[in-house]
């Protein structure tokens, strides 16, 4: 009897302890960083993404499943700049994992690695949900992805020194293909330069800066404040003076405000994937930008 109890306990512990896997566990707050980790780590890593392209990463909650994932992570990569401020601090504190706390090699904040736009000069919530460290949606410019890739490859090499050469080689390969792709996208997107657009949320500033699009209005009156009918009317008035060619939203945005305005202003509304998984076509980082530019070109041509 006693023995069976002991063996049962031993079995339970063995189940809980889970054999140490060779693969490094990467916890990514957003799908783009999980995709980047996969591109640089190959099968040496196992990436988990806390959010999907259909979730607003600012609004999800500190779910128990996420605490469990952070508990076992070897490396955590998040956008930062307060995008995950509503849930990440709880995951970090409750995980009991020392390896991924801020200021350790296992913690990487992508936004810190790139020049940020829309740095507020005054912090006042009357201006909506502004982020003191600038606009956090840095992944919409592929040149930012390249910047983050450098740091991520270095971290992987640092955390798994036995395979450092492998990570660096993979990064070199990725970087060469990525630079070539950027050149291709820039060429493809040349007709988009200078066109005027309306964005649902201040999500695309980095993309617009990269491709030279001009944002004339946003459907949210202030960042994080859902579009209201009265504000949409204001946008319509703006568009009479400063017409736009497209209305752009991301996969997790409600379609109704942009569809409503599209009908009123008689310009096309286009949904862009925003991140990996936002559309069926955006399966990885390369197809994410292929699809983004394809959709923009198609919509611009139809307007």
């Amino acid at each position: 009897m006693k023995r069976s109890v002991v063996s049962l306990i031993a079995f339970a512990i063995a189940l809980l302890a889970e054999p140490a896997l060779a693969a490094m566990k990467v916890f990514a707050c957003e799908p783009e960083w999980a995709a980047l980790a996969e591109a640089l780590g190959g099968d040496r890593i196992e990436a988990y993404t806390a959010t999907t392209a259909l979730q607003n990463p600012h609004r999800i909650q500190a779910r128990p499943s996420l605490i469990a994932k952070v508990r076992s992570a070897d490396l955590l990569i998040c956008t930062g700049a307060e995008l995950e401020v509503g849930w990440l601090p709880i995951l970090l504190r409750q995980s009991g994992n020392t390896g991924i706390q801020p200021y350790t090699p296992g913690y990487l904040e992508a936004a810190l690695l790139v020049p940020r736009l829309e740095m507020p000069t005054v912090l006042d919530r009357a201006a909506g949900d502004v982020h003191p460290q600038g606009n956090p949606h840095i992944q919409t410019d592929p040149r930012n992805i390249a910047r983050v890739a450098v740091a991520l490859a270095e971290r992987l090499a640092q955390l798994d020194p036995d395979h450092a050469a492998e990570y660096r080689a993979r990064h070199q390969d990725f970087s060469a293909r990525w630079q070539a792709a950027i050149a291709r996208w820039e060429k493809q997107a040349a007709p988009l330069k200078g066109i005027t657009v309306v964005a649902q949320h201040k999500y695309w500033v980095y993309l617009f800066q990269w491709l030279g699009l001009r944002e004339v209005a946003t459907l949210e009156s202030k960042p994080g404040i859902e579009p209201s009918v009265s504000h949409l009317e204001t946008v319509l008035t703006t568009l009479q003076k400063d017409p736009a060619k497209l209305i752009i939203r991301t996969a997790y945005n409600d379609a109704r405000p942009s569809e409503y305005l599209a009908e009123k202003a008689k310009i096309p509304a286009v949904m862009l994937p925003g991140t990996v998984g936002g559309t069926e076509q955006a399966r990885d980082l390369f197809s994410l930008f292929d699809d983004t530019i394809h959709r923009l070109l198609a919509a611009a041509a139809s307007s």
Binding site: E18, T52, P64, G86, R93, N97, Q101, E109, I225
Partner: protein
């Protein structure tokens, strides 16, 4: 660069002029040291200025950054650090937030003491008419690389200040372990670990008020230590234990060595698909009070003070299940939450310790009483949420010994039903309407309407699941 050299030369020539010829060797040495320090200070400042210029130049190269700070405007966050510091909860250290909360309550007057249930006080609401609720000031920051600290100070409308929570939490233990020390909310049930301003209804369930003895808008707290361990599993599993002085009912605060209360808890949780997530828990709170006071109305209709001494155990089972389409709660989401509390007490009860009615009498006492609630909250539009809550209490066993001659039995099962609707202009503000119908005693039912606002200003807090 040559500027720096000039500066250094100029400085170097100074002491030679002011130096009196009679200066001793030590004085000369001292002057040299001062000079070196000055030079270092200048070099550091010049370097900082050079860095700033480079940074500004770099920023000008970014054309779309017109919204970024013109260099002259001093931003309140100091340098908009495009630097290397990871995001803190706020650019300020510590993160500071202030909750503003107030109510208007419309309810009948009367003493709400539940016959046969021994508790810390009356069942709420505490105040009628307009009232400021508690204004909670919260500070939090990392203490050092190993510890995190937080304090939630409740400024009561009457002017008193209460420390709701003030604890440190380890960051450096690893292996899934976390230790908390100080004053914290007891890990009993689900709702208790959540601050009142984040609740979906204004007040705590009557099961909390009657069996755990919490205030209508308060939590059950403890001064002590808590250990938590998160298992290295894919499914969330967390085990924990606490030891403390037993400052709150079901124990009673008193001057003694050792512990006054202890707790154990286990939580499991996870996701089912992208849209569903849950957490379920079991917990236990043990207390060994001595002369724990409870007010009651005796059979002669006189309010008396009774004192309990013995063992008090509370067992709780809780669950919360949340749904959001594709896991994105911004537009629509649904939350179902329920808890069951069971309190088992046995020991001695002194009836009317202050001699207000028949005079003190000490007798054996034991009880098995349970209560619970089930609530559902639906956010049907980005700014609107509606909720329903049903609550019950039941006394499975009550033995008052010979105090049964003077104290009422718990032959009525109290119940309460609430409806709420709240409007949230942003994630930082909330206005709520709540209506409740309750039957707390045999022959009494009453209705309450509570209007409430809860706003948060300051740093963006993170909320527990």
């Amino acid at each position: 660069m040559y500027k720096r050299t000039f500066l250094a030369l100029g400085l170097a020539s100074l002491p030679g002029v002011v130096q009196p010829a009679t200066a001793g060797q030590s004085e000369l040495e001292q002057t040299r040291t001062e000079m070196r320090e000055m030079r270092q200070a200048y070099e550091t400042r010049i370097e900082a200025l050079e860095n700033r210029i480079e940074e500004l130049e770099a920023r000008q190269e970014t054309p779309a950054a017109e919204t970024a700070a013109p260099a002259e405007t001093p931003a309140p966050t100091a340098e908009p650090a495009q630097g290397t510091a990871p995001t803190a909860a706020n650019a300020f250290n510590p993160a500071i937030s202030q909750i503003l909360e107030g109510t208007y309550t419309h309810a009948p007057d009367g003493t709400r003491l539940l016959p046969g249930f021994f508790s810390a006080g009356e069942i709420g609401p505490e105040k009628r008419g307009f009232s400021l609720a508690e204004s909670e000031l919260a500070l939090s920051a990392s203490i050092d690389p190993y510890l995190y600290g937080t304090a939630a100070i409740a400024l009561e409308p009457g002017g008193e200040v209460a420390v709701e929570e003030a604890y440190f939490q380890t960051l450096g233990l690893g292996h899934g372990f976390t230790v908390k020390g100080g004053r914290f909310f007891t890990a009993i049930g689900y709702l208790n670990e959540i601050h009142q301003h984040a609740w979906d209804f204004f007040d705590a369930p009557i099961a909390y008020q009657a069996l755990l003895g919490t205030e209508a808008a308060g939590n059950h707290g403890e001064d002590g230590v808590q250990l938590r361990w998160v298992a290295p599993t894919d499914t969330f599993l967390e085990l924990g234990a606490e030891l403390g002085r037993g400052k709150d009912f079901t124990s009673n605060d008193r001057n003694k060595n050792g512990i006054g209360a202890a707790g154990l808890f286990a939580h499991v949780g996870g996701d089912i698909g992208a849209s569903h997530s849950y957490r379920a828990g079991l917990s236990w709170l043990g207390a060994w009070p001595k002369d724990r006071g409870s007010a009651a109305v005796d059979l002669d209709n006189v309010e008396v003070l009774n004192l309990f001494e013995g063992d008090s155990y509370v067992y709780a089972a809780d669950f919360v299940w949340k749904w959001a389409p594709n896991g994105d709660p911004s537009y629509r989401n649904f939350k179902l939450q329920g808890e069951l509390l069971w309190r088992d007490e046995h020991g001695m009860l002194t009836y009317d310790a202050e001699g207000a009615s028949g005079g003190a009498n000490r007798s054996g006492y034991s009880s098995d009483q349970l209560g619970g609630y089930l609530q559902a909250v639906y956010q049907f539009q980005p700014r609107w949420r509606a909720g329903l809550r049903g609550e019950w209490l039941h006394s499975a066993h009550l033995d008052l010994g010979d105090n049964a001659e003077t104290l009422p039995d718990a032959d009525h099962d109290p119940s309460k039903y609430s409806v709420m609707l709240d409007y949230n202009p942003s994630e930082f503000s909330r206005f709520r309407w709540q209506f409740a119908y309750q039957e707390l005693t045999d022959n009494e039912s009453d209705q309450q309407v509570i209007l409430q606002y809860v706003h948060s200003l300051g740093s963006h807090g993170a909320h527990q699941f």
